[in-house]
């Protein structure tokens, strides 16, 4: 296997320190905390999925086609942001409890890369595009597909962290 970025760039010490934080300790010492936080993380995934899909499907010309892309995007936005906050609030503690494992985990770095791209793309490209009424249909479709691809990659790679040791 090729080394992870964490290995290549020598981030191990930083990850090690994050694993030693009290939050990480508390979660590792508890039987229930990791599964409990993980379950809430999954609830956030459902919410994130709904708020992302409803907009991306509309950009693809599916779903709520009687509404403008702007209307769909505006209605979904608070739920998307809420879901994102919930994901970070649960995801960061989960990471702190097993940071060293994540340092050597390719799924984790794929997830984080897709997550960063997803956030930049959503707020920098997709939402501004959805707010316009003059975007060419093919551009809207490509943007919808890219957004779907990014967020499903985040979710899929996230699930795979657990399978890839």
């Amino acid at each position: 296997m090729t080394p992870t970025w964490c290995e290549s760039f020598g981030w191990f010490d930083a990850y090690d320190r994050m694993e030693q934080t009290w939050i990480g300790e508390v979660i590792r010492e508890s039987l229930w905390l990791f599964p409990g936080i993980e379950a809430v993380h999954l609830l956030g995934l459902a919410m994130l999925g709904g708020s992302v899909l409803v907009v991306d499907l509309r950009l693809l010309g599916l779903g709520l086609t009687r509404l403008t892309t702007r209307q769909v995007s505006a209605n979904a936005k608070p739920w998307f942001i809420g879901a994102l906050v919930l994901m970070f609030a649960t995801g960061i503690p989960l990471f702190l409890s097993e940071a060293i494992k994540c340092c050597f985990n390719h799924s984790f770095e794929v997830k984080i890369a897709a997550l960063a791209l997803g956030i930049v793309f959503t707020f920098g490209v997709r939402n501004p595009l959805a707010a316009r009424s003059d975007a060419p249909v093919w551009v809207a479709r490509v943007v919808g597909l890219v957004s779907l691809g990014l967020w499903f990659t985040v979710a899929g790679a996230g699930r795979w962290i657990g399978f890839s040791g």
Partner: protein
Amino acid sequence: MTDISPYEPSLIHSFALWLDSHAWSTALHESLWVYPLVESTHVLTVMLFVGMLAMVDLRMLGVAFRETPVSEMTRRVLPWSVAGFVIMMATGVVLFYAIPVRTAHSVWFRVKVILLIVAAINAWWFHRRVSLDRDRWDSQPKPPFNVRLTAAISLGCWTGVIVFGRMIAYNWFDCERSQSAFIAWAAGCAAELDS
């Protein structure tokens, strides 16, 4: 044991044992890629199934898409959720088939199934009763109480299904560990020990 009171293994247990005897069940459970892929599909479909359903429920609660008629949401968003549900059931059946005995005796799984049944009754009640006078409240930003109640029950049930579904992976209440009488009863552990 059997000479005191002959014990009939439960139907659920016999069925799970029968599934477990299939070569395909073992092959799935032991597969390096298929099981994790089916499991991941099951988890990711929560975005489509519960995510889209939540959009409809939130509309019915009057907290999202308030300017959009409820009928527009059920007509244009709900079918996506139903498609997600089909994928959920299909992958869920495969996951059960791969690990039938342990799953059938999982307290988490048993509560999850009960919540699924409650969600189904709630959906049936909505279509059969609550939505009868939909024209009256279809365009109201905040629909009447009984509409909001069904939406809240739906969200509550699916929240529980996700949480309990995730917990199936943990072995705290497995029959082969020593359990309290209540857990042993709820999990149907006796049937497992007896056969």
